[in-house]
């Protein structure tokens, strides 16, 4: 590899990272996070600025590494890459400080200049940005010289500090942390203190370093025995943790857990429709809405029916309503496949929302003003309005639905669905009743969502049409795909990721949806089969990969 191509690789990666860096600065992340302390005086803004150089260095080194193993080449490419990124940032700084771009780019403010220049005079700041970028890029490459085990350990330590620093307030806000702190008689500040951060770095690095130390010479039998034992232990542990969870994490996180639970219910339902039967449904929120409205109509004394039925009576009614609407939607779309189905179901979801919102149905279901005063559920005289109690109700519902899903998975109808998903014509030739199978999938999927909606209405106390937007459908679809389609643990994991994580990231409110979008794209690019794919699907994907490999060879 000649020097010229090294330089070229450096320039190219520098330009790519530079453009990304300018984008990140211009959307205001650096200045917003300049006041977001991770540990001690170290802010997230600083970490982001440092990360530009690091990424530029790593990217350049990777490109060079493909063709040249020489360290000198890597360092050179990284330095060039870092320099270019730094120059672009410095140029941005100079432009923003001299020309007012605020009419177009709202974040190009004096604040941005301050965040980029650390209070230095402009020329000094520009030189410093470039120097910092080059230095971090070179450091990133040199870091590759550290023995891999230590390197990993240190990296994990740094990641741990960043994560804990980022979520520090959430962590100390948990009920269990409060208990511990009260017990120890300490008071946690709003920022992870610097000594704590350094200590954390040390401890995490050391632990991960030691954990990777020794390979385990175990025989298969021993491992097997261990595994069975471990399985029981972990089951008991998980059950105990699930039971204690709401009181350990407190009110807010219990509320979040109930939301995660509701989305798990919907996810499991959609998993049957999309994951098993392969019917792409983009309007799944309709059934959630129908369940919620049925619950509110029948249980609220303030609704147009004014029956005021108790929760446990209204719940089966809501379920039946949802199931029937699932069948009603199913009938006209029986002949549609793939994307035609997707748009029709999307339309169905919108129709339900618009109807709920409309003046036509206002006398019955309240129009935009919704339905008020849905009472919380009672359980043997205990009012379940506190999310910590409601959690158990939703947990129970989830367990029931998980059980049903597991049984369906291995049942005759479950296999029929999979056959329909794989090939309708073949499935029919094999004697599967398509109409029954599809309608069954719609009805069961809808009833799960209906139960979720009913509990939602009881939890909220008041429901409005705007609770049931297309975004909910998209969220549910995304969570089953992120989790791993067709996989039940995947759905639960997906719900935790897509519903729980945004709650953890509440603070970065402005960037939440941006991060959500970027996360979906990256996730699909890096791990399209989902976090916990079902065994069947993993096999399918591998098969396709193998096929692809063959095709490549043939080409």
């Amino acid at each position: 590899m000649n020097l010229l191509s090294v330089v070229r690789a450096g320039i190219r990666s520098g330009l790519i990272v530079g453009v990304i860096a300018i984008f990140i600065v211009l959307i205001g992340m650096v200045q917003t996070f300049a006041k977001r302390y991770l540990t001690g005086e170290i802010t997230l803004g600083m970490v982001i600025l440092l990360a530009f150089g690091l990424v530029a260095g790593v990217l350049a080194a990777r490109q060079v590494a493909k063709s040249s193993p020489r360290l000198g080449h890597k360092v050179l490419a990284a330095a060039i890459s870092g320099l270019i990124t730094g120059v672009m940032l410095a140029a941005l700084l100079l432009v923003v400080s001299q020309v007012s771009l605020r009419d177009v780019l709202v974040n190009a403010t004096p604040e941005m200049v301050a965040a980029l220049s650390f209070g230095l005079p402009l020329s000094g700041a520009a030189v410093m940005l470039m120097g910092m970028s080059v230095a971090t890029a070179v450091i990133a490459v040199l870091y590759g010289l550290v023995p891999p085990r230590l390197r990993r350990a240190l990296l994990e330590g740094i990641m741990a500090v960043i994560l804990i620093g980022l979520f520090w307030e959430a962590i100390i806000g948990l009920d269990v942390s409060r208990l511990v702190m009260n017990f120890l008689g300490v008071k946690a500040g709003k920022v992870l203190p610097l000594p704590g951060g350094i200590g954390l770095l040390g401890v995490v690095s050391l632990v991960t370093y030691l954990l990777r130390m020794r390979p385990r010479p175990e025989t298969a039998v021993v491992r097997q025995r261990h595994r069975t034992a471990w399985r029981y232990v972990s089951l008991v542990l998980i059950a105990g943790a699930m039971a204690a969870l709401p009181f350990a994490v407190g009110l807010f996180w219990s509320q979040t857990l109930t939301t995660i639970g509701l989305f798990t219910l919907m996810g499991l339902g959609l998993n049957i429709v999309v994951g098993m039967a392969g019917l792409l449904d983009l309007g799944y929120v309709a059934f959630y809405a129908i369940g919620a409205y049925a619950m509110a109509l029948f249980s609220s004394p303030a609704s147009s029916l004014g029956l005021g039925l108790p929760f446990w009576v209204a719940l089966p009614i809501a379920l039946v309503f949802a199931a029937i609407s699932g069948i009603l939607l199913g009938i006209p779309v029986l002949r549609l496949r793939g994307d035609y189905l997707a748009i029709v179901t999307l339309g169905f979801g919108e129709i339900i929302r618009v109807l709920a919102l409309s003046d036509v149905l206002k006398p019955y279901i309240g129009g935009p003003q919704g339905i008020m005063e849905t009472p919380p559920p009672y359980f043997f005289g205990t009012q379940l309005s506190d999310p910590r109690y409601l959690y158990y109700l939703i947990l129970a519902a989830c367990l029931v639905v998980v059980f049903i899903s597991l049984r369906l998975n291995d049942s005759r109808i479950g296999r029929a669905w999979i056959a329909v998903r794989e090939d309708e014509d073949v499935a029919q030739a094999m004697g599967i009743n398509l109409v029954a199978a599809k309608l069954m999938a719609f009805a069961i999927g809808a009833s799960f969502a209906g139960v979720g909606g009913a509990i939602f209405a009881a939890r909220q106390g008041a429901i409005f049409p705007m609770d049931f937007t297309l975004f909910v459908s998209i969220n549910v679809l995304c969570l089953i795909i992120i989790g791993g389609m067709g996989s039940i643990p995947g759905v639960i994991t997906g719900a935790f990721f897509l519903i729980g994580l945004p709650e953890v990231l509440r603070e970065v409110d402005e960037y939440r949806i941006l991060a959500y979008g970027a996360g979906l794209v990256i996730m699909m690019l890096v791990r399209p089969e989902g976090l916990i794919p079902s065994a069947r699907r993993r096999l399918e994907l591998r098969e396709e990969e193998a096929e692809e490999g063959v095709a490549d060879v043939a080409r």
Partner: protein
């Protein structure tokens, strides 16, 4: 390529067992159609609305439909080639409208728009149609190309993610405030014609939008039918592998497809801005969904189908609340209901069968 072959069977003859169901659906469909006709007749008998109202609504619908159609073309072309729903296409449209705004507003503030309106508008259109393809092609390169062989839902989710990302990126870069297109004096006049006893106004801009749309559609038709790249596009849509064997650069063809779709969406975006004035980062969402509906209505993957579907959807949206005498609030119910009815009679859209039939 299991994915493609599975999809290619879409239009196979429906099985015998479904036929009873099919008859039922026809009955339902005919019933609804009869109801619609009866309501229209009722409204007409009332005599509340004169011919000027109907003409006006038709014109409104055609203008709105033109923009839907241009956006729908992007959906349908990408679908025809990749069998994927490019959910982010609505945001491409939004980026077109935004880029147009910044140019036109700049000209407005500098006074260039007032002194040289025609070149200013031309440059606005060029930029508004020039920026979206850059984003579209980048999107394809970064987010979609690696997923070309993945299961169908994976690119869909990726596209949804990209849609959120683009929308938020624009919000964070350019602010949350509504951007208002400046009024262009040369376009804001209208003709007054007499219909029956009443006068009605036809705005210059509405005619211009329809004309531009027709020009662009004809250009697209010629491109697809008469040029080499059009031929390549059709070949890739038919069979990627075979096209590759014939020496067609499939990647390049896909890139061009994305670019053309984005150019059309950009044109629609600028016209949207000129016609409705207000542009905001969420402006692409609803037209995106509607255009997607239009594409399916016309038969997704089919270019004339998308044109027809867009115009038809716009027309129905504008005229149905008046014709059926129900609240305008329910127009989305009508348009999606229409979609269901059409799909009951023709499961692959109005013009859908032609293309899929060839493929099967």
């Amino acid at each position: 390529m299991a994915v493609v072959s599975r999809e290619a069977r879409v239009s196979r003859a429906p099985a015998v067992k479904l036929s009873l169901n099919r008859i039922m659906l026809w009955v339902v469909g005919l019933g609804v159609t009869a109801l619609v006709v009866w309501r229209i007749a009722g409204t007409a008998a009332l005599g509340l609305y004169g011919p000027d109202v109907w003409l006006m609504q038709t014109l409104n619908g055609l203008v709105q439909g033109s923009m839907y159609a241009l956006v729908a073309l992007g959906y349908t072309m990408v679908y025809g080639i990749l069998l994927m729903i490019n959910f982010a296409h609505g945001e491409i449209f939004m980026i077109g409208a935004m880029s147009g705004y910044f140019v036109l507003n700049g000209f407005h503030q500098s006074g260039f728009l007032a002194s040289n309106p025609v070149p200013a508008l031309l440059i606005t259109f060029i930029v508004g149609m020039g920026v979206p393809p850059i984003v579209g092609v980048l999107l394809e390169r970064i987010a979609y190309r690696p997923l070309r062989r993945a299961p169908r839902l994976v690119p869909l989710i990726c596209a949804i993610g990209a849609s959120f990302f683009l929308q938020q990126a624009v919000r964070l870069l350019f602010g949350i405030r509504t951007k208002v297109y400046p009024t262009v004096a040369v376009l804001s006049g209208s003709w007054t014609i007499t219909v029956g006893e009443r006068e009605m106004r036809i705005q210059h801009m509405s005619v211009l939008i329809i004309v531009i749309t027709i020009v662009l559609m004809v250009a697209l038709y010629l491109l697809v039918r008469k040029t080499k790249i059009g031929k390549a596009m059709r070949a890739v849509a038919e069979d990627k592998e075979a096209a590759a064997l014939m020496g067609i650069d499939v990647d390049q063809v896909i890139m061009v497809t994305f670019a053309i779709g984005a150019i059309l969406a950009g044109a629609a975006g600028v016209m949207w801005g000129l016609w409705y004035k207000q542009v905001i980062h969420t402006v692409g969402f609803i037209p995106g969904i509607k255009a997607f509906t239009a594409a399916v209505l016309g038969g997704i993957g089919n270019i004339p189908g998308a044109m027809l579907g867009g115009l038809f959807l716009g027309f129905v949206e504008a005229i149905a609340p008046t014709a059926l005498d129900i609240s305008t609030q329910l127009k989305d119910v009508i348009s999606f209901g229409l979609l269901v009815i059409v799909l009951i009679f023709r499961p692959s859209g109005i013009l859908g069968e032609v293309l899929t039939g060839k493929k099967a």
